[in-house]
Amino acid sequence: MVALALQDVGAAYGKRPIVSGITTELLQGGSLTALIGPNAAGKSTLFKRIAGLLSGPGTVHLTNATSGKDAIRYMPQDTGGNAVLTVYESVLLAAKQGSGWRVSDQELAGIDEILAALDIKALAFRELGELSGGQRQLVAIAQALVRKPEVLLMDEPTSALDLYRQIEVLAFMQRRARSAGMAVLIALHDLNHALRYCDHTIVVADGRMQASGPTAEVITPQMLREIYRVEARVERCSRGRPVLIVDSTAA
């Protein structure tokens, strides 16, 4: 199974360093890892660096990947673009990059399968421009998954989704990661989602790593006070699940 580890990884735009010194334990295939931190912490930059879209110091160790450097795929936060394409074509487009014009039945079957799995078959022949922000986000997930990544870096994939869809997508990604042996890293703002769905959590602030480890050990009142400047507790609900309760902003 694929595994990813970062060692002293950094990235810069021009001469301005955005992130530096990011080191993680081994993130195994089949697991979900949350990347959390305040706004402008460098989360997207770190993802682009891991995906090879930005260069920088340090090493991204990838073991047991079968598709070489193509194993890592980044799903950007921006779902914009106003192309005159149907949802189906936009997913086909993601699947066909770097290959010929001819489209096989098998390739189309792969798209049908992804759209069905994400429950967006009804959108298949709608144009991208007609979709809501949340629908675009689901299409972006389909575009990322159809490329069969071994490591998937999802940049705030649930930010435009309603509550039902947020839960649905994260639970789906959890199942998908386990069944496909895929390592999924998700940039999240909702720490309750991290607590509920993510095995590991990496905390980044001001471009530097602040903590990394099992989610329950990382999301602590002390970390929340120092990084997020809030007074908060993690308690168990009546069903035994950890729940984050924010009391106030920190003094």
Partner: protein, 355 residues
């Protein structure tokens, strides 16, 4: 997620997509047939009107028609009719790819200053007799126009290689070029003799009557040479329309693709403009028509842009001969007049969101 989807219903999308693709191929064939018909009509019209049947006989049974008909169709009218096709196709493809790589619906050889630069180059030759490249003095006007058009295009190209230059900056630079070259052109016109002024005004209106077989061949050769370059990048170019980040996440080298395309497009736009003068509308609207008809999958969008541009200019060529009996009006003037109503019908008649 939807675990209730049965295997029988799961492939509905596949079938639907196949139908959609077939419909687009049919549309392309229809456009090609319309283009052929338009070219035939174009060759039938002129001081001596022929029937379509006579034109077809001259085309396919040349040894069985009169010498006069053969000479008129093959030597006089066909270069002009085919020049409309190749110039329309070239400008439309150039506009399509400029709009694609700059993510801007207003990008075209005209709006990025390439046509204005060509006009200034031509005016330098016509007014001041100044050759930018001291070769083939008999062809000073098109060579000057080409040199200036390429210079403008390369300026845009190199500006886009600079760090931190965004696509919005490129479009603004293009607009600045339009104003600069128009000002320089106005200055030359102000200083020009009456005769030279008339020549400049006529040149800037754009006219297919300057067409000759060598010009047709050169324009066609550049078109035929560049289309496979775009075709090979069809998926990557389409991905660009989903946004830079998304394309990069699909593995597209956005910067390199954008630069290579800009360079190719420069050549594609500069050649026809230097031969026939300023024909602005087709490079802007041809791609929009194509987009509305077949969407932006470049496997369909690219051939549709070729056909829409060619058809638009070919129909314009026909109209330019029929407005005033016995006179051929400059095609650059007629293009917008013919294209705009057609464009309006498409914009208001289509439910498809086009930009």
């Amino acid at each position: 997620m939807s675990i209730l989807t049965s295997p029988a219903t799961i492939h509905v999308g596949r079938e639907h997509y196949r139908v959609l693709a077939l419909r687009r191929i049919a549309l392309l064939l229809l456009l090609a047939a319309a283009l052929f018909a338009s070219v035939c009509v174009d060759m039938a019209l002129g001081p001596a009107n022929y029937t379509i049947g006579e034109v077809l006989s001259a085309l396919f049974q040349a040894d069985q028609v009169s010498d006069q008909l053969r000479v008129v169709v093959w030597d006089i009218r066909m270069p002009i009719a085919l020049m409309a096709v190749t110039v329309g196709a070239s400008l439309s493809v150039a506009g399509a790819q400029m709009q694609t790589i700059l993510a801007n619906p207003l990008a075209s050889p005209f709006t990025l200053g390439i046509s204005a630069a060509a006009s200034f180059g031509a005016a330098l030759a016509l007014v001041a007799g100044m050759a930018i490249l001291p070769i083939a003095v008999n062809y000073m006007v098109p060579i000057n126009a080409f040199a200036m058009a390429m210079a403008a295009a390369l300026f845009i190209h190199f500006a886009s290689t600079l760090r931190g230059v965004t696509v919005e900056t490129i479009v603004l630079l293009g607009i600045a070029l339009v104003f600069t070259f128009n000002a320089l052109l106005a200055l030359l016109q102000y200083l020009a003799s009456e005769q030279a002024l008339a020549a400049v005004v006529f040149w800037t209106m754009g006219s297919l009557t300057k067409a000759t077989w060598p010009k047709v061949w050169i324009t066609a050769a550049v078109l035929v040479a560049t289309i496979p370059l775009f075709a090979r990048q069809a998926w990557a170019l389409t991905a660009l329309r989903l946004g830079e980040d998304k394309a990069a996440s699909f593995g597209v080298n956005v910067r390199s693709l954008r630069l290579r395309t800009m360079l190719t497009v420069s050549l594609l736009a500069a050649i026809p403009v230097s031969f026939v003068g300023t024909i602005g509308f087709v490079g802007l609207v041809g791609p929009h028509m194509a987009r509305m008809l077949v969407g932006e999958d470049q496997r369909f969008f690219l051939p549709a842009s070729v056909l829409c541009g060619a058809l638009l200019l070919s129909v314009t060529s026909v109209v330019s001969k029929t407005i005033l009996p016995g006179a051929i009006l400059p095609i650059g003037v007629i293009t917008a007049l013919v294209g705009v109503p057609f464009f309006f019908v498409l914009i208001f008649g289509s439910r498809r969101r086009a930009w």
